[in-house]
C-alpha cells in the first residue's frame, strides 16, 4: 500500500440547543416531538414581513459555556451576521448566523486513540464555536398523484451551535473518538440531547488526501503535509455508527482516484446509507456568495469579564477531569473509570454508592469489618460495571446493602454452610416434613432458624435456596 498520502479530516458539527424557546422568538423549541407540522410558529420564525429577531439569552450563555468547556477564547465583542441564500426552508432568504466575530474561538480537545495496538493522543484544535438559527424542514411527498415538497417551520429558528475544527484529524477512528468525546461533554453540560437520529446533532466531515511533505515542500511551516488541492464535504450522515463507515469509504474512494493519477473533485457528497457509498451532490468549485453583513436588527454584544467568569463557574466537572480524579481517588483502572464517566448520571451514581458504603462502616466492633472492606470503591465499580446495574432502578444505599448481603454469604466457607444447613434440618424435622408436604411457610421457618444459627452471616435468599435444595436432595436419596 502506498503510504505517500496523509488523510486530512476536519469536522463541522451542528448541535441543537434544548432551550425552552427558539433562538429569536418565544415559540416552543421542540421540533422533533411536535406531532404536527407548523404548530410552533410565529411571525418571526415564519419570516413574515415586519417581524424582528430578539436573541435568546440562554442560548448565548450556553454557547459560551460550551466554548469555555472546549478551551476556547471568548472575545469580549461579538455580533450576529446575515448569511444570504434562497431555499424554501429559509423563510427570510437569509440565516441569522455569525461570520467574522463568533462567540468562541481557538479551543482544543485532546483525543485518545489506538492504532496498530498502540495508544496515542491527538490534539484537535477547535477553530470556532458560534451560534445561529436552524432552518425549517423539507418533506417530499406525493399528493394527488403529483410529487410535491412540503415545508415544516417547527424547526425554523431553533438555536443551533456550530463547532468547526481545524483539519487536525487523521483517520475515521480518530474522528469517531473525537465525536464521542464532544458528545459526552455536551451531555455533561446539559445544553442539548445531541441525538443524531433526532437531528439534534449533525456531523459533516471534510476529507482530503495530501502528499506527505518532503524537505523542500511547499507546505506551511509546522505542517506535516502539503496543502490539499481539494476538499470533499460529506453530508447526510444520520447516525453515529455511520460516521466511521462514511469516512472510511470516502478515504478509500479518494485514495483510488489519486493512485490512478486523478485529483478528486472539490465537492459536496451525500452519504447513502442503503448502499454504503458517498454520492456527488453539488460542486463546491464556486462557493456560494453569502453576501455576509452585520445583522442590523441586533446590536453587537459586549461582554463583561465577570459575566464570562460566572458562566465558567456553572460548568460542572467535565469527563476528562472526573476520570482522572476517579483513577486517583478511587484507585480505578483506566478502563473502569472510562466507563463510569460515560454519563454524569452514572458517575454521580457511582460516587453516591461509595458514600453509601462509607456510611455502612460500623463504629465499633470488627467482626464484620472484613466484609465491609469488600465494599471498596474498586469493587463497587466492578459490581456496577460487570453486573450492568441500571442506576435508575435501584438507589445507591439499596445497592450497597445488596452487595453486602451477597458478600456476606460468600465470606462463609462452604463446609460451614453445609454444617449449618444440616443442623437446621436435623433440629426441625417436623418443619422439613411440612415443607415436603407443600407448606411454603415451613421453609421460611427453617430459613429463620438458619439465620439464627449463622448469626446473620448468611443472607435469607441464599439460605432459602440452600435449604430447599438440600431437602430435595435428601428426598431423592430416600
Amino acid at each position: 500500500m502506498n503510504n505517500n498520502y496523509t488523510t486530512i479530516i476536519g469536522l463541522e458539527i451542528h448541535v441543537e440547543l434544548k432551550t425552552l424557546s427558539k433562538m429569536f422568538c418565544a415559540c416552543k423549541n421542540d421540533p422533533f416531538f411536535a406531532g404536527k407540522p407548523n404548530i410552533y410558529t410565529c411571525p418571526v420564525c415564519l419570516g413574515l414581513p415586519g417581524a424582528l429577531p430578539v436573541p435568546n439569552r440562554k442560548a448565548i450563555d450556553w454557547t459560551i459555556k460550551l466554548g469555555l468547556a472546549l478551551g476556547c477564547e471568548i472575545p469580549l465583542v461579538s455580533k450576529f451576521d446575515r448569511k444570504h441564500y434562497f431555499y424554501p426552508d429559509l423563510p427570510k432568504g437569509y440565516q441569522v448566523s455569525q461570520y467574522d466575530m463568533p462567540f468562541c474561538k481557538n479551543g482544543f480537545l485532546e483525543v485518545e486513540n489506538t492504532m496498530n495496538q498502540t495508544s496515542y493522543n491527538r490534539m484537535v484544535r477547535i477553530r470556532r464555536v458560534h451560534l445561529e438559527e436552524d432552518t425549517g424542514k423539507l418533506l417530499h411527498a406525493v399528493i394527488e398523484g403529483k410529487k410535491r415538497t412540503l415545508v415544516d417551520f417547527n424547526r425554523s429558528g431553533v438555536p443551533l451551535v456550530e463547532i468547526v475544527t481545524e483539519p487536525d484529524i487523521r483517520s475515521g477512528s480518530e474522528a469517531t473518538a473525537f465525536l464521542k468525546k464532544i458528545h459526552r461533554i455536551i451531555r455533561y453540560l446539559c445544553i442539548s440531547d445531541a441525538d443524531m437520529e433526532k437531528g439534534s446533532m449533525r456531523i459533516e466531515p471534510s476529507i482530503s488526501m495530501c502528499r506527505k511533505s518532503d524537505a523542500t515542500s511547499k507546505s506551511r511551516p509546522g505542517l506535516d503535509y502539503m496543502i490539499p488541492a481539494y476538499r470533499v464535504e460529506i453530508k447526510n450522515i444520520n447516525s453515529f455508527r455511520f460516521v466511521r463507515k462514511a469516512i472510511d469509504y470516502e478515504i478509500k474512494r479518494q485514495r483510488e482516484l489519486l493512485y490512478r493519477g486523478e485529483t478528486p473533485e472539490q465537492e459536496t457528497r451525500g452519504w447513502n446509507e442503503g448502499k454504503g457509498i458517498t454520492v456527488s451532490q453539488r460542486s463546491k468549485e464556486e462557493a456560494a456568495d453569502y453576501r455576509y453583513f452585520p445583522e442590523p436588527d441586533i446590536p453587537p454584544l459586549r461582554w463583561q469579564q465577570s459575566t464570562i467568569k460566572t458562566i465558567q463557574s456553572t460548568i460542572p466537572e467535565l469527563p476528562d477531569a472526573k476520570k482522572k480524579r476517579f483513577m486517583e481517588t478511587y484507585d480505578l483502572s483506566d478502563y473502569d473509570a472510562e466507563i463510569l464517566v460515560e454519563t454524569s448520571q452514572l458517575a454521580d451514581y457511582f460516587e453516591e454508592c461509595t458514600r453509601a458504603a462509607q456510611k455502612l462502616m460500623p463504629d465499633t466492633g470488627n467482626q464484620d469489618i472484613k466484609q465491609y472492606q469488600e465494599i471498596n470503591p474498586k469493587s463497587l465499580a466492578n459490581w456496577i460495571i460487570n453486573r450492568k446495574i441500571n442506576f435508575e432502578e435501584i438507589l445507591p444505599a439499596r445497592l450497597v446493602t445488596q452487595i453486602v448481603q451477597t458478600k456476606k454469604t460468600s465470606s462463609i466457607d462452604k463446609g460451614e454452610l453445609e454444617k449449618i444447613v444440616a443442623q437446621v434440618l436435623v433440629a426441625n424435622s417436623k418443619a422439613v416434613e411440612d415443607y415436603k408436604k407443600g407448606k411454603e411457610q415451613a421453609l421460611m421457618f427453617l430459613v429463620g432458624q438458619g439465620m439464627r444459627t449463622s448469626k446473620g452471616k448468611i443472607s435469607p435468599e441464599s439460605l432459602k435456596k440452600l435449604i430447599a435444595d438440600s431437602i430435595i436432595r435428601r428426598k431423592e436419596q430416600e
Binding site: P43, P49, G50, P53, R291, F293, P296, D297, I298
Partner: protein, 478 residues
C-alpha cells in the same frame, strides 16, 4: 364646517364637549375619502366597517367616562404598517393579497390609545421613492395642485391628512419619507431618533435607517401622537430603553437663547430654489425675533452623504426583500417594480464578495464620520435648521426619467438618517399656492427641543391654517 379640518387638539375638545360624536367624525372623514380619493389616490384599503365599529366603541367608552389620549381620533396608516386582518401591501403588487395575522407594535399602541384606523395609505412601493410615483398601483396627487407630487414615500399618508380623510397619519422615514411629503403637503412630520419608536411589524426597508414617524396638521398634535408611539419594545432589539418625556409639555416654553445652527454646506448648495431661500430666510427672521441665535456650522461630509446612503440602504433593502420568495405569501419575485429591482441589484452588488470592502465597508466607515459631524455640530448649537426640500413640490413625471435626480431631492434630509438623529418638518410658507417646509434637526433623543422651537415658530406663523382648495378637485373632475 368640515370637522375633519380640525386639529386633533380641537377635535378632542369638541368630542369631550359632545359637539359631535366619534361616529360623526369618522363618517365625515370617510365622506372626504369618497369625495376626493378618486382623484387624489391616497388610499389603497379603506376599512369602513372596522372604522365604524371602533368609532362606536369610542363613543361608548367616552360616555362611560373613560379617558384615552386619542379616543375616537381617525388615523390612516402607511401600508408598510402590518395590520391584523387588514390587507397590507407596502404599495407593492407582490403582496397585493397579503392579510397579516398580527398588528405592528405602533398599531397596537395607537389602538390602545383609542385611535380609529380608517385604512391603509398608498406609498412608493416598499418605501422606495421621494414622490409617490413609484407606487405599484397609481401615483398619489398633491391636494394643493393635483398636477404635482405630494412627496414620498409616505405620499398617501400626507395627502390623507391634508385633504381631511383623517386627522393624523403614520409613515416611515428612512431618508426623508415622512418629512418630504409633510413639507409638500403643508403638514408637520417627525422623523424620530433611530430606536425611539418600535419597528416591529413595520415592513423593513433599511433596518438600520428606518424610523417610524407620523404626520399631523400641527406641532401639538404631532407631539401628542409621539407620546403614544415612542418607547422601548421587547419585540424590537434595536429599540432603546429610555423613558419617554411628555412631549406636549415641552411646548410653549420660550426659545430665547436657543442656538440654531445653519450648515454652510446646505445653504451654499446650488440647487436651492429662490422661493425656498426666501421662505427660509423669513422663518429665520421670525425665530430671531423670538430670541433664537443663529450660528453658522459645518457638516463637512455632506458632499458624500448621498453616496454613502445609496450604498448602505440598497444593501439592506436587498437583504430585507429576500423573504419575498412567493412560498409563504405573495407572488413571485418577477412582480417587483423597476425601482425595487434597481435597489436590489445595487444592494446585492455592494455586498458581494470582492466588492464588500470597497463599497459597503467603506460606506459604513463614512457613516460614522457623518454621525460625528452632527455630534460635533451639536456641541456648538442646540438644533440645526435647513429648508426641507431644495425645491417646491415638483410636477408629476418631472424626475421619473432620471433616478439620480429623484435621489437628490432628499439631499437635505437623508444625512440625518445616516446619523440616526431626529428631525422635524414644519410648514413655513407658500409659493404659488405650493407648500414649503422648514427642517429642524436635533441631537439624539432631544425631540422635545425640536418641538419646542417649531411650536414657537408655528404660533407666529400658523401656515397650517391654509387648507388646500378641494372644491377645485370636486368641480374640475365632477
Amino acid at each position: 364646517m368640515d370637522i375633519c379640518s380640525l386639529t386633533i387638539r380641537q377635535a378632542k375638545e369638541a368630542l369631550d364637549r359632545k359637539e359631535f360624536s366619534a361616529i360623526e367624525l369618522v363618517e365625515a372623514c370617510l365622506e372626504n375619502s369618497t369625495k376626493y380619493d378618486g382623484i387624489l389616490k391616497a388610499l389603497l384599503t379603506v376599512d369602513v366597517d372596522g372604522a365604524r365599529q371602533e368609532a362606536s366603541a369610542a363613543d361608548r367608552l367616552r360616555a362611560q367616562g373613560v379617558s384615552k389620549p386619542l379616543l375616537g381620533i381617525p388615523f390612516v396608516l402607511k401600508d408598510l404598517y402590518t395590520t391584523k386582518g387588514l390587507r397590507t401591501t407596502a404599495g407593492s403588487k407582490i403582496i397585493d393579497n397579503y392579510t397579516p395575522p398580527f398588528d405592528a407594535t405602533v398599531v397596537v399602541r395607537l389602538k390602545n390609545a383609542g385611535a380609529v384606523i380608517l385604512g391603509k395609505a398608498n406609498q412608493d412601493a416598499w418605501g422606495h421613492g421621494s414622490s409617490g410615483e413609484n407606487s405599484d398601483y397609481f401615483p398619489t396627487k398633491n391636494p394643493y395642485d393635483t398636477s404635482r407630487v405630494p412627496g414620498g414615500s409616505s405620499s398617501g399618508s400626507a395627502v390623507a391628512v391634508a385633504s381631511g380623510m383623517c386627522l393624523a397619519a403614520t409613515g416611515t422615514d428612512t431618508g426623508s419619507s415622512v418629512r418630504l411629503p409633510a413639507s409638500f403637503c403643508n403638514l408637520v412630520g417627525i422623523k424620530p431618533t433611530y430606536g425611539r419608536v418600535s419597528r416591529y411589524g413595520i415592513i423593513a426597508m433599511a433596518s438600520s435607517f428606518d424610523t417610524i414617524g407620523h404626520m399631523t396638521k400641527t406641532i401639538w398634535d404631532n407631539a401628542l401622537v409621539y407620546e403614544i408611539t415612542a418607547g422601548k419594545d421587547p419585540l424590537d432589539a434595536s429599540s432603546v430603553d429610555r423613558s419617554v418625556p411628555r412631549y406636549t409639555q415641552a411646548l410653549g416654553k420660550a426659545i430665547s437663547g436657543v442656538k440654531i445652527g445653519l450648515p454652510k454646506e446646505y445653504f451654499s448648495s446650488k440647487g436651492i430654489d429662490s422661493s425656498v431661500f426666501t421662505a427660509t430666510k423669513d422663518a429665520i427672521k421670525e425665530l430671531e425675533a423670538l430670541g433664537a441665535m443663529f450660528v453658522e456650522v459645518s457638516l463637512p461630509h455632506t458632499d458624500v452623504a448621498m453616496a454613502c446612503y445609496y450604498i448602505l440602504v440598497p444593501a439592506e433593502i436587498s437583504s430585507n426583500l429576500a423573504r419575498f420568495d412567493g412560498v409563504r405569501y405573495g407572488h413571485g419575485r418577477e412582480v417587483f417594480g423597476e425601482e425595487a429591482k434597481r435597489r436590489i441589484m445595487i444592494g446585492a452588488h455592494v455586498l458581494s464578495s470582492g466588492y464588500y470592502d470597497a463599497y459597503y465597508k467603506r460606506a459604513a466607515k463614512v457613516r460614522t464620520l457623518i454621525k460625528n459631524d452632527f455630534e460635533e455640530a451639536f456641541q456648538r448649537v442646540d438644533v440645526i435648521l435647513t429648508p426641507s426640500s431644495p425645491t417646491p413640490p415638483f410636477k408629476i413625471g418631472e424626475k421619473t426619467q432620471d433616478p439620480l435626480a429623484m435621489y437628490l431631492s432628499d439631499i437635505f434630509m437623508c444625512p440625518v438618517n445616516i446619523a440616526g438623529a431626529p428631525a422635524l418638518s414644519v410648514p413655513c410658507g407658500f409659493v404659488n399656492g405650493l407648500p414649503l417646509g422648514l427642517q429642524l434637526m436635533g441631537p439624539q433623543f432631544r425631540e422635545e427641543l425640536l418641538y419646542q422651537v417649531a411650536y414657537a415658530y408655528e404660533r407666529e406663523a400658523p401656515w397650517y391654517k391654509t387648507r388646500p382648495d378641494l372644491k377645485k378637485i370636486e368641480k374640475t373632475h365632477e
